[in-house]
Symmetry: none
Subunit: 221 residues, 2 copies
């Protein structure tokens, strides 16, 4: 369970955000704050994993608050939720390593996809990185527009391929997956590789056979 602190100067908005977060599996709101000082105090007291931070607070600008929050609890993650559209605000937030920057106003689905993406990324950090590729996986942010598939891919086919992978405890080759779903090998491979870039699936090569090694896909988690 990922614990969350909601920070927003507007009491009603904080309540709405709290309601949103509590509807998402795996997240739990442990408190709310309406000012920078309250946020620092709540952080020390409640020790949340994640802070939903509005930038416009009565006593301090949100970006300047981040350093204070980190001083109290270095391992906290920050997700900025604000109406601030200045480039300097976005750059400053990114520079301080916020996990996301969500513009107000937004809908429940916007927040949900971003929190779920954060949860997945958080869980997928290996205990020990061995190669630069591992590091890049942690650095590389997953594509935004979680629902939005790249050109050439359809949601319906993606669901079918995902379902086929999930229902297989063993792993699948592109050809096997194609036969199981009922599509061509080319299409199956395209979707499987897409899932790999999203880290929803992982691939391992099977050696030993003569000929080129076989890519075998497995659904993660």
């Amino acid at each position: 369970m990922i614990t969350v602190l909601v920070v927003d100067d507007d009491f009603m908005v904080a309540r709405i955000h709290r309601g949103f977060v509590e509807r998402i599996d795996g997240f739990e709101v442990v408190g709310t704050a309406n000012s920078g000082d309250q946020a620092v105090a709540a952080l020390a007291d409640l020790r949340p994993d994640l802070v939903l931070l509005d930038l416009y607070l009565p006593d301090v600008f949100g970006l300047d608050l981040i350093a204070r929050l980190r001083a109290v609890r270095p391992e906290v993650d920050i997700l900025v939720i604000t109406a601030a559209r200045e480039a300097e605000a976005v750059r400053g937030a990114v520079r301080q390593g916020v996990v996301n920057y969500l513009l107000k106003p937004f809908g429940f689905e916007d927040l949900r996809t971003r929190l779920q993406e954060y949860a997945r990324r958080r869980a997928s950090v290996p205990e020990q990185v061995t190669s630069q590729a591992d590091v890049d996986r942690v650095l590389a942010p997953a594509r935004p527009h979680v629902n939005r598939l790249p050109k050439g891919l359809s949601q319906e086919t993606a669901d079918l391929v995902a379902a086929a992978l999930r229902t297989t405890s063993d792993n699948l080759s592109a050809a096997e997956c194609a036969e199981k779903v009922g599509i061509s090998r080319v299409s199956a491979r395209r979707y499987l590789e897409y899932f790999c870039t999203r880290h929803q699936a992982e691939v391992a090569l099977r050696y030993g056979t003569t000929g080129r090694p076989e890519r075998r896909y497995r659904w993660t988690t």
Copy 2:
């Protein structure tokens, strides 16, 4: 022109990094530092845009230095260059918004692609964001596939061989590595020799056995 400060406790390594950066168009090294205190002073004095930061410094751990650097100059960007492979180091660096995390040892091309990607991202921030899509572009830029391997080698197998070599404190022969990874001796040797050309691995001949001398590989550093 992007101004750079190079920070590494090893004087020679700092010099090598300086040479690398100066060979890249659009970048200019304005100074080097060999400790945390020197880095803070140089940052205040030289006001660079970017710091190449080693994490292992004599007076302070690099991640703890970042906050001090930001206190002096909030708009500075950090690119971590280190041999630190602990997950906590990578996560801590990402949490503080480093622009990249490059594992030692690395080649000139590795640094060049990453710096150029940084320069491109830096230049492409719009003055004013209007939609969430603009924000997402800043947060999640498309990460180009770097580290192009020569023909006949695959990234997945290269990772496996590198991992096998690194997890062996002792050194390995081609045959031993092949068995450990699960590939043929011929393939193992091909990857091992590739790592040697990249200076990511080094080879020593072992005599004394009957037959032709054996090439034993060891991961550098």
